[in-house]
């Protein structure tokens, strides 16, 4: 037994040396994840700022000016043009000069004074549907607020039912709070996949794999020795990312650290398992890299990282049950924002453990099949 432990540790040590002695692979493991974390966190946000808009105001009255002042005073909007005709509106939108044109008819002020419902027309560039959707929300909020204030000042009756919105765990609905924990999962996956997916293929290319197989190391020991460095590197990188997320991006870490690390452990396990599986099936490093991407892209898209799983068709939703990143994102967001502990996340832990064990088992199976 002692011999087994020593052999596995020596193999792990060798893997470390092979990864870290080479300046290039050392850089690949350390620099890009951190750069990506910072770039993604700043870049990947759903919040819209300084939206270019134009105004087509046909109303000479006071109320249109009051309403438009609320737009020009908002940090979210930036006035970048005026239109006087439908043709001009079309040109502004088509040339992507503005995303939004506010059209106020000449009857606007008159209708308000006579107590009728006045209409503001918002023309939005629908080619970017996601942006258009968020944009409309902003416009609606401004118009609604104006409506309420106007009703008060003209002592009109307030709207019959009013909605009061309170977002728990992320009171200002900052999208960065949503995105940054997701990036922790994404980068952990990339690193644990890359460390293992290329390792056996590289040995095959160099011819050292045969040399390894003729030693008394059993396939299980080889798998263990190859996963160990992945764990250490995966843990180190996730820790670094968590620290950056909380200190630089001020994402609150409300949950328990053990709950977070149990998640990281189980997720790294499944990432390494999938990586080794790809590695055992690849003859060359190129195949290993392609295989990793083949796994990586769908598992990000089908994880709920950007788009909610609940929006997907039923059959795809079922498919996401096999995706380890899906569970890890739940764990991350709940631990970070909601302050969840271990108990509440037991189903996710269970799923990750099952996927990880199955992947490692399959990796060992493919690996042994290759030998016979």
């Amino acid at each position: 037994m002692n011999g087994v432990v020593m052999r596995v540790l020596r193999l792990a040590q060798k893997e470390f040396l092979a990864l870290l002695r080479d300046k290039k692979s050392r850089m690949v493991l350390i620099v890009p994840p951190l750069v990506q974390l910072i770039v993604f966190s700043y870049a990947a946000t759903f919040d819209l700022k300084r939206i270019s808009y134009a105004v087509w105001n046909e109303d000479p009255g006071l109320y249109s000016r009051q309403l438009l002042a609320r737009f020009s005073g908002s940090k979210n909007f930036k006035l970048s043009g005026e239109a006087g005709s439908p043709e001009e509106v079309k040109r502004l939108i088509d040339n992507r000069r503005v995303l939004l044109v506010l059209h106020i008819r000449n009857t606007f002020s008159r209708e308000i004074l006579t107590g009728k419902a006045a209409t503001v027309e918002a023309i939005v560039d629908g080619r970017q549907s996601n942006t258009a959707m968020i944009l409309t929300g902003y416009v609606q909020t401004i118009v609604q607020n104006y409506n309420t204030d106007l009703a008060k000042s003209l002592s009109l009756p307030p709207p019959a039912a009013s909605l009061s919105l309170r977002a728990w765990y992320n009171p200002n609905l900052k999208s960065r709070w949503f995105i940054v924990p997701g990036i922790v999962g994404l980068l952990t996956l990339v690193v644990s996949l890359l460390v293992t997916a290329l390792s056996i293929a590289r040995e095959r290319e160099d011819g050292t794999f045969d040399q390894l197989l003729v030693t008394p190391l059993t396939p299980l020991e080889i798998i263990l020795g190859k996963t160990l460095p992945g764990f250490v590197i995966g843990f180190a990188e996730s820790t670094a990312i968590v620290v950056v997320a909380t200190t630089i991006f001020h994402v609150p870490l409300r949950g328990s650290i053990p709950a977070l690390y149990l998640g990281i452990f189980l997720f790294t396990l499944s990432g390494l398992g999938v990586g080794l599986m790809i590695s055992a099936l690849s003859q060359t490093q190129q195949q290993g890299l392609l295989g990793s991407f083949l796994f990586l892209v769908p598992s990000i898209i089908l994880s709920g990282f950007a788009t909610p799983i609940a929006n997907m068709p039923k059959i795809i939703q079922d498919l996401t049950l096999l995706n380890p990143l899906r569970y890890f994102l739940v764990i991350l967001r709940e631990v970070f924002l909601q302050g969840a502990g271990v108990q509440i996340l037991l189903p996710e832990y269970g799923a990750l453990a099952a996927i990880g064990t199955a992947a490692l088992f399959l990796a060992g199976h493919f690996f042994q099949k290759r030998i016979g």
Binding site: G3, M6, R7, R10, L11, Q13, K14, L17, A18, R21, D22, D206, G207, T208, D210, Q211, L212, L213, V214, T215, P216, L217, T218, I371, G372
Partner: protein, 600 residues
């Protein structure tokens, strides 16, 4: 041949060429003031030990690398002032020729024709003779990756000949190619040189090939050690070569004694005796206690080469210590000799061993056994099934059927695990972790075999000293010179003192000097009772084996001592065939019976 072409300007003319490399260990003068000519229409060989600068020179001639200083003329013109000269008039085949393995034979040819701008309508007339000469015509639709090693090399040559260049540079084109394919390849090249006025400049590690060249240039440590016709080199060596026989003592045991003597430049233990080259044209001073008979024999080019090198290294190198020899005067220890005394049974026994890949039978009912303490050679053409056999013995591949026994234990079903510690395996490519240092490689492999603590440390130091790797201990394995990489691979394979050593082409691409040293070690190890199973394409090495098996198309075609193999190939035409002739004869016999079966 040079004379026949009259006084033309030389195809290659090099003057005072210098090229240095900056290495972590200081500046290396890879080429140190080289001047020579290659006459037009000749085959000129470039010969020298590993690291002598052969590949650097080839790359500079091919225009891939710039010299630091010196001048260079190709076909009478300076390539720097004549743009397009090299692309048009030069064919270059590097050591690792870049065949696209996922393209077919004819697609590879097309690609090279495209690269050199050969007009489409001329191609078929150019291809036809090339495909005929290389016998690749039936395989023109096959993927290059599926060709055997010899066929790949032939295709590589065909690709470099596609644009009919007047000058062809070949960098070790026959490394790892079996004797039959090697012969065929040289027939192609000689025909090409004779038929057109092509000039061939070729580097090689095979000394028997050098004998057929018009001229040879010997390169050593970046300097030219000799230049001339091979016959002149051989003539100068007359009277220096002797065969020493001691009745009752195997030549392999006698060899280290002879090599120790002063005045001895080279000693090789062959089956018939110890072939000895002396520094002066006198018989070596063998002590009378050894009771030997010494006969002068005719020198070969290899003897001449070894003499030249020995003359060079014997004098000043001793002081500088630059020529490191391994195992000089030391004995390698082998702890547990009691477990395998040479008398009891076979180390490896194989009966009707078969391995099929789909419908292809790579190894077909193979039977032989390797005795304890024996050096057993496995010969055969590329693709004959040698490596497959090796992988089955090493437990890397399961036999489809048959019977395989190692150290008296049945391991047919792959239950080799318990025996792995007794096997040492060195693969064709000297597989080591390039990023790890010499020391880290040795530590890792010995730990994988369960070594640790003081025993491991002592063994490490012993082997580092024995293989003269001490000064390289913290150097990455990937940047070691080839000869040292080979030593390291052997050291890694024997750290754990295996009782069976499997060596798959262990000297492929290594120069004669390193090969000789390597075999001396192997021989020493075998005297410790270790059984050695080795594959090789060098007939000189095959001659040093105790017994040989020759394989063709997965089957055994001959088995016995080198003498028995030669006697089995006797014909009225050649009453005393060399081992290479015998080898080729056995393969042809096999092919004939095959044809006979086919026609019935």
């Amino acid at each position: 041949m040079a004379e026949a072409n009259g006084p033309r300007s030389p195809a290659v003319s090099v003057r005072h060429l210098v090229r240095t490399f900056r290495t972590p260990r200081g500046t290396l003068r890879a080429l140190d003031d080289i001047s020579f000519d290659v006459a037009s229409g000749t085959i000129t060989g470039l010969i020298g030990p590993d690291g002598a600068g052969k590949t650097t020179l080839m790359r500079i001639l091919a225009g891939i690398m710039e010299p630091d200083s010196g001048s260079l003329r190709i076909l009478g013109r300076d390539p720097q002032t004549a743009p397009g000269l090299l692309q048009k008039s030069l064919g270059y085949m590097p050591q690792k020729f870049g065949l696209y393995e996922d393209l077919t034979v004819s697609e590879n040819l097309d690609l090279h024709a495209d690269l050199h701008g050969v007009p489409r309508e001329e191609r078929q007339t150019l291809y036809a003779p090339l495909l005929r000469m290389t016998a690749l015509a039936p395989f023109s639709g096959r993927l290059a990756g599926k060709l055997s090693g010899g066929m790949k090399q032939k295709l590589g040559v065909a690709c470099s000949l596609v644009h009919a260049p007047p000058l062809l540079l070949l960098d070790e084109p026959t490394v790892g190619v079996d004797p039959v394919s090697r012969r065929e390849l040289w027939e192609i090249l000689e025909k090409e040189v004779k038929g057109s006025s092509t000039t061939l400049f070729v580097s090689t590690a095979y000394m028997d090939e050098a004998e057929h060249f018009d001229r040879v240039v010997i390169l050593y440590e970046g300097k030219i050690l000799g230049e001339g016709a091979p016959e002149d080199f051989i003539r100068d060596t007359g009277g220096h070569v002797f065969l020493i026989v001691a009745p009752g003592i195997p030549a392999r045991r006698l060899e280290p004694e002879i090599a120790k003597l002063p005045e001895v430049a080279d000693a090789a233990g062959l089956e018939e005796g110890v072939r000895t080259v002396t520094l002066t044209p006198n018989p070596p001073p063998v002590p009378p206690s050894l009771d030997t008979r010494t006969d002068p024999v005719a020198p070969t080019f290899e003897d001449a080469f070894m003499l030249r090198l020995a003359n060079k290294t014997a004098k000043p190198a001793e002081a500088s210590g630059s020529s490191s020899r391994m195992g000089q005067g030391r004995e390698i220890s082998w702890g547990d000799t009691k477990t395998f005394s040479p008398t009891e049974g076979d180390a490896i026994a194989i009966r009707d061993l078969t391995r099929r890949f789909g419908s292809f039978t790579a190894v077909d009912r193979l039977s032989f056994s390797v005795k304890k303490g024996e050096i057993f050679g496995l010969l055969g053409a590329n693709g004959a099934g040698k490596t497959t056999t090796f992988r089955m013995i090493a437990g890397l591949l399961l036999p489809s059927s048959g019977f395989l026994q190692i150290d008296g234990r049945d391991v047919t079903n792959g239950n080799v695990a318990a025996l792995r510690g007794r096997l040492g395996y060195m693969s064709q490519k000297f597989s080591l972790y390039a990023q790890l240092t010499v020391l880290q490689n040795l530590v890792f492999f010995s730990s994988a075999y369960g070594m640790g603590g003081k025993r491991q440390r002592d063994r490490l130091e012993e082997l580092l000293a024995f293989f003269d790797l001490t000064s390289f201990r913290n150097v990455s394995a990937g940047i070691l010179p080839l000869g040292f990489r080979q030593r390291l691979a052997l050291a890694a394979a024997i750290m754990h003192e295996p009782s069976i050593l499997l060596l798959d082409e262990p000297t492929s691409g290594v120069d004669p000097l390193a090969r000789r040293e390597f075999w001396r070690i192997i021989s020493q190890i075998s005297f410790r009772g270790v059984s050695v199973l080795v594959t090789t394409h060098f007939m000189g090495e095959a001659n040093a084996c105790d017994r040989l098996a020759i394989m063709a198309q997965g089957r055994l075609v001959a088995l016995g001592s080198p003498r028995e193999i030669r006697e089995g190939a006797k014909t009225p035409d050649s009453p005393d065939p060399s081992l290479e002739e015998a080898f080729i004869r056995h393969l042809n016999l096999k092919a004939e019976t095959e044809d006979g079966e086919g026609s019935r």
